[in-house]
Symmetry: C2
Subunit: 426 residues, 2 copies
């Protein structure tokens, strides 16, 4: 079925005339029709709207751009001019933004078809979503980009947007066994993306193939579809257990240790990296920043529609308004200082490999799992990938997290691809 | 007339029972009624809405917060749930966001009354606005926060929001002879503020009294209304002519030289600061960043409503899409490197004083004036004030620009207040 194609394979098959956009979109819609009653990945789908755009692609005289005719999923905190944007909140039931987010407009201009809106946790926070993990419906798909990850993993759409403030791209990517890409902070345009915490929020991608990251990034930042910088031959890799090693589960320890051994045999220079003690403060600092900023970003809803916020979010916002300004600025300083130190550490490495989630997706639909291991790196603003390289005791996916230097997204792409090929041979 | 009160004086007079909110709001509305046909500072005013909120404040059993009953102006790129937000663009004529921006919700929760929406240049860019300079109707008020500056300078409202990407707070503040405060980048929450260029956009304030900055900042960042840190007694001041000294006009040279002399006599340690040569690249780097990011932020309007964008904006967006990604990232690196160097330079100074605009407001309603002198500091993300300390040959105001260390907004407030008291004694 065409819905199993990766985004970039679908794009080239449409370009070569081997498949039609309509057939591809129809197969994705059929998959949704048969599966989404259980998975609940979608907040909004209008099959006829998607099909009419697909037919327009098929009958157009030329190609709109490198994404011509390929469907894409949009997390439901991201504005679309022709579909509601509900933020996973009853406050915004049926809400029409009246315009597209920058990222949506850029994908459409390059020919992509917005298939629908994917379920987000309420305001991209922590409340449990209705979505199930498509690999095991009793498990959480992770959050907050729950619907995007579940839809991509379940072959309902080849790729989708996610956003990350703590672990909201990589956690669902890891739990659903797909690829998560969290760019350098501020790399992708955020206009029309509903904010959670402005000094942490990052727009990113969820895909099944790493080549899709190269293609979609090219459109979003405005460069040729193929990267010009050349891949590293034998990457210098730092394995970083972090100060949180005591709270990872055996399957994650195994994933990291197998990566160390396999990549070393494959020719990488692999070393251990012990971060300075100051990095131990990152988890607490990120929590303060996120909570302080989220409270302010939620000011209108808090003061005008408090009763429509979930209990967990109400507690979060109340806590956020409780921080002293000095506590917030001190936490911001922790982040800035560690960013500077990390940049120096990166003189010696091409990439850092660290735990992603604690382990497999919890068999608990009332939680979206733990974001601690991801959140500390998110505060550091560096680009990162979640790569599903391993399986846990319940045969659910386990990911490693790999980081690049601030601004080094393109170099990291090559390393991530190399790592993935070595750890999960085709 | 009560419309001549500063924001903080109005707040204390309402608190003490000396004046009513209704009377204050009525005097502001009367001033608008008599003057705005000429000045055209307002994009939207609903007198009855404002008056009913004022009456509700007057009859309430307690005080809502430290801003109880005082009217405030909101630049028309900032979301309000009860008024249109039109971005100065026909694309958004009558546009309803359906929610308040974070900054608006925070002011309302502290008791402020949103008097109306002030005219913005189209998407906070460069096209000439309908607004006139209230001090001389033949002159530009500056832009893009044209309406906010004109309304505050003309005693239509005591204070208003502005936003700055190049010089959009300080230029209109300088040209209209009021105070502009541009916080450290990322200090104030931007949710609901329509973006121009996300790595430059900063929300700030326009007021007639510097004490208003202390009061309003307190509400926006969440700290007590009075600052705890103590004022500097004899500030260490660097006078920085910058590499743009050749293009400032005599009145600005005079403003800087008088500041140097007067502050030195008043007890400041005054030295000259010559910036490293690398800072000469800031103007070009800021232009590239702004243009690249603005094109992407305007992607929806560009691809879907191009014919409704002004000619200047169309040219700007086309140029922005023309930059190579590598040119953009190189410009970002210039900014980051200079920020690091500036932070080191600030070890020796409390503040830097530099030119603000080239000179008085141009007697030309088809331009909003020059932002170069402001824009270079804006890329450095440091907090700054425009302080109207001087008059030019046409008796129009001339401002100096004073900068503080990244994150040092509260310390800079004390220095700015000291500087203003010495240069413009009450």
């Amino acid at each position: 079925m065409l819905n199993e194609l990766s985004f970039s394979d679908a794009a080239s098959s449409i370009k070569s005339g081997d498949i039609s956009s309509e057939r591809l979109v129809r197969d994705c819609l059929d998959r949704i029709e048969s599966r989404d009653r259980d998975v609940r990945a979608w907040a909004f789908i209008d099959p006829e709207l998607a099909l009419s755009q697909a037919r327009a692609c098929d009958t157009a005289s030329g190609f709109k751009g490198p994404l011509h005719g390929v469907p894409f999923g949009v997390k439901d905190i991201i504005a679309t001019h022709d579909m509601p944007t509900e933020m996973g909140s009853p406050i915004y039931a049926g809400y029409q933004t009246g315009h597209d987010a920058a990222c949506v407009a850029l994908l459409r201009a390059a020919g992509a078809i917005i298939l629908g809106k994917t379920v987000t946790v309420e305001f991209a926070g922590m409340a449990p979503p209705p979505t199930a993990n498509p690999l095991n419906l009793a498990c959480t798909p992770g959050g907050s980009s729950s619907g995007s990850a579940a839809a991509v993993a379940d072959f309902m759409v080849p790729a989708a947007f996610g956003t990350q403030t703590a672990g909201s791209i990589h956690r669902p990517a890891a739990h659903c066994g797909i690829i998560g890409y969290k760019p350098t902070f501020d790399r992708l345009n955020l206009h029309g993306v509903w904010p959670a915490a402005q000094s942490l929020d990052t727009l990113g991608l969820l895909t099944r193939s790493i080549d899709d990251i190269e293609l979609l990034s090219a459109v979003l930042v405005g460069r040729p579809a193929k990267l010009e910088c050349s891949p590293v031959k034998t990457p210098r890799i730092a394995i970083c257990k972090t100060h949180l090693w005591d709270i990872v589960r055996p399957e994650t320890i195994e994933a990291i240790e197998i990566a160390r051994e396999t990549l070393s045999i494959a020719g990488a220079e692999v070393e251990d990296l012990i971060l300075p003690d100051s990095f131990d403060e990152l988890v607490a600092a990120r929590d303060i920043i996120s909570s302080y900023e989220r409270a302010r970003a939620t000011a209108y809803e808090w003061f005008s529609h408090r009763e429509l916020l979930s209990e967990p979010l109400q507690r979060g916002v109340a806590k956020g308004f409780g921080w002293k300004y000095e506590e917030y600025t001190q936490a911001m300083k922790v982040g800035a200082d560690c960013r500077r130190d990390l940049d120096t550490l990166f003189n010696d490495f091409d990439t850092i490999i660290a735990p992603c989630t604690a382990g497999e997706a919890p068999a608990d639909r009332n939680s979206t799992g733990d974001h601690t291991h991801i959140g500390m790196w998110n505060l550091l603003h560096v680009p990162s990938y979640a790569l599903p390289t391993h399986k846990g005791p319940n045969n659910m996916p386990v990911a490693i997290q790999i980081m690049g230097r601030h601004g080094g997204d393109d170099a990291l792409f090559h390393v991530a691809k190399w790592v993935l090929e070595k750890l999960v041979p085709a």
